[in-house]
Symmetry: C2
Subunit: 419 residues, 2 copies
Amino acid sequence: MNQELNEKGRLLKNAAAQLAALSDRARRDALLRVAEHLEKRQTQIMAANQEDLRLGEANGISKALLDRMALSPERIAGIAEGLRQVAQLPDVLGRVQQSWQRPNGLQIERVSVPLGVIGMIYEARPNVTVDAAGLCLKTGNAVLLRGGTAVARSNQVLVNLMQEALGETEVPASAVQLLTSPDREAVKEMLKLNQYLDVVIPRGGGGLIQMVVREATVPVIETGVGVCHTYIDRAADPEMAIRIAVNAKTNRPSVCNAMETLLVHRSWAESHLTKLADVLREKGVEIRGCAVTRHLLDGLDIAEATEDDWAAEYLDLILSVKVVEDLPEALAHIARYGTKHSEAIVTEDKAAAEAFLSNVDAAAAYHNASTRFTDGFEFGFGAEIGISTQKLHARGPMGLEALTSYKYKIRGSGQIKGS
Amino acid sequence: MNQELNEKGRLLKNAAAQLAALSDRARRDALLRVAEHLEKRQTQIMAANQEDLRLGEANGISKALLDRMALSPERIAGIAEGLRQVAQLPDVLGRVQQSWQRPNGLQIERVSVPLGVIGMIYEARPNVTVDAAGLCLKTGNAVLLRGGTAVARSNQVLVNLMQEALGETEVPASAVQLLTSPDREAVKEMLKLNQYLDVVIPRGGGGLIQMVVREATVPVIETGVGVCHTYIDRAADPEMAIRIAVNAKTNRPSVCNAMETLLVHRSWAESHLTKLADVLREKGVEIRGCAVTRHLLDGLDIAEATEDDWAAEYLDLILSVKVVEDLPEALAHIARYGTKHSEAIVTEDKAAAEAFLSNVDAAAAYHNASTRFTDGFEFGFGAEIGISTQKLHARGPMGLEALTSYKYKIRGSGQIKGS
């Protein structure tokens, strides 16, 4: 086995056992200490980050990616502030979720506990290094971090600094580790580190997530990919439907809860689709349509939507539009092309709305609201680890609870099992 | 892709959408109908099973395995009775688990829903075919079954019969499918059927489970392997400790919640280990011990426990015994060799008991009771899908709730997201 993984895995497993026994106060104080160190050591962090950026530029990394790699005094202050907010969130550990007594006298209690050791795999975004570590520590978990190698220097400084800060607290410094091997094979080994890792969470684009799902033997929480639909029903209020569709597409097109495909009931489309298309095009949206859409928007020279378009997560100002005959056709389209992330219906028809909310297979099903609200902060969780698109364990926006498990404590008085 | 998997996957996905919309009454009635058909068609089931057994015997399958493959009128009646009990359990779907309003007026509701399509992989035990299907249907899930090929004929008859019975109910007949290809490659493809399966649950021995964990890209609920410990503390009541240890080891040694290693505090061992060893040996238990154990049980010719023994899930009348100096040493041993299944402490010292319950990393932590109680029925769940040894989603004995997920229903009045 990769020696680095073996050593750090062992350290993390020990740290997790210590962490699980600490009070919320101890974990909170540790996060506040980390925040303090971040701000004090800003110059050192910036220097490492500048070096990453310089090398990135020399290696021809795009301007957009360089921007995501970059730290600034403001961004560092923002990261520290994020830690302080997470530190103050209510504790999610040690809660008695259920308790009952069996006829034989056994007292059974189900209590929330940390997951243990979490592996985080993410792209070249140094802010995630601190955010992820903060969420894991707050919930009593040790964490093995593996960020994109393009910010290796930034991550190394950040992890050193976090360990140094933790060294001044009750949380063991070894509870945060960085996998430094730049080797892709090391990542694959990390994904199979079942003896040390309890779960792996990938954060990033579809390629990264699919690699993790394919390679991991450690349980994975799959996050992120969203081919989100908005269905404008026959009975939709025109002004509201246009406002919601435009917001879902254009408010922030690069994120997973942005709309990618618009489904429109034929009768609504006949009256209002031209108006909606005008607004979208004013906002710079390229429309790709089904035959009926292209017919209705005859003057606009709309490209034909292909099979690939219906399945596409554009993450861009592009929208595929399909006119449907009724709600069942809309639901069938979503069942075929949706990614179980976020789906919305706009309608004044309560029965149609309830049928949609019940029958659409998605983490978040909306009536008369933009899909853009699928987000831990918008849900009021005060934090977000990611948005789960699987059905095991956690679904949709994940707050602190998603980083916990439970155990049963059973108290007896000598009970043994009969034959 | 394997054509059978593709076709059955598509049927199951459609069936799952229909199932999710059915009432508990419809699902309950379907299970009762299946139970009725099972009893009516007993002769046909027995004929297929006899053929499986004849072939198994010809192929040299052991008597113990043949016994697990065998059906009898009594076993069939038992399976039908099990279905009737599951049918009557309280519905776990459509429960509003949480609901709240956001400052912007969005109403968020978290509601329990089925997982969707479940893949079950298990050994040559035809009773599991019906049990698993019953649990899945009760919880609104469609199911793809893959049982051991040694009972292929029995399974085919049972699945045909279930589909026939479902054809007379509101539950779609296609909601239960059997993967009939005897090919091992087909099983590996099933484990990667992410477009159709929401989760895979293996039931069986360690080899089967490890294969599933290694090969699956579909989320897995790992079940089963239990290297369970009982720690007899310094302050244990001697009579109670002996009763619990003997029960945990000998009540049913072949199951995952049986004790495999006994840890004994030195001072208790010095006074009582000889007595305990005598009782265990009367029950036919072979003891393998650490150096101190062998010294204390000098006259008994105890074999030395090796590294392999500490890690062994014997599932047999063999017990490894280690004498420890204190509770931390017992906990460290369990952290190293335990499988996070079930662990027990016997003591009259409340503080030691609470420290053990809090610090041991196990699905079920017992004070003064036998580990044999880790079981869905003993916990009062009325059913058991398996015992999870992972921390994601469900931990320990899994009842009906473990076969559910949740979705968020969000009701708005035109809300859009600000910048």
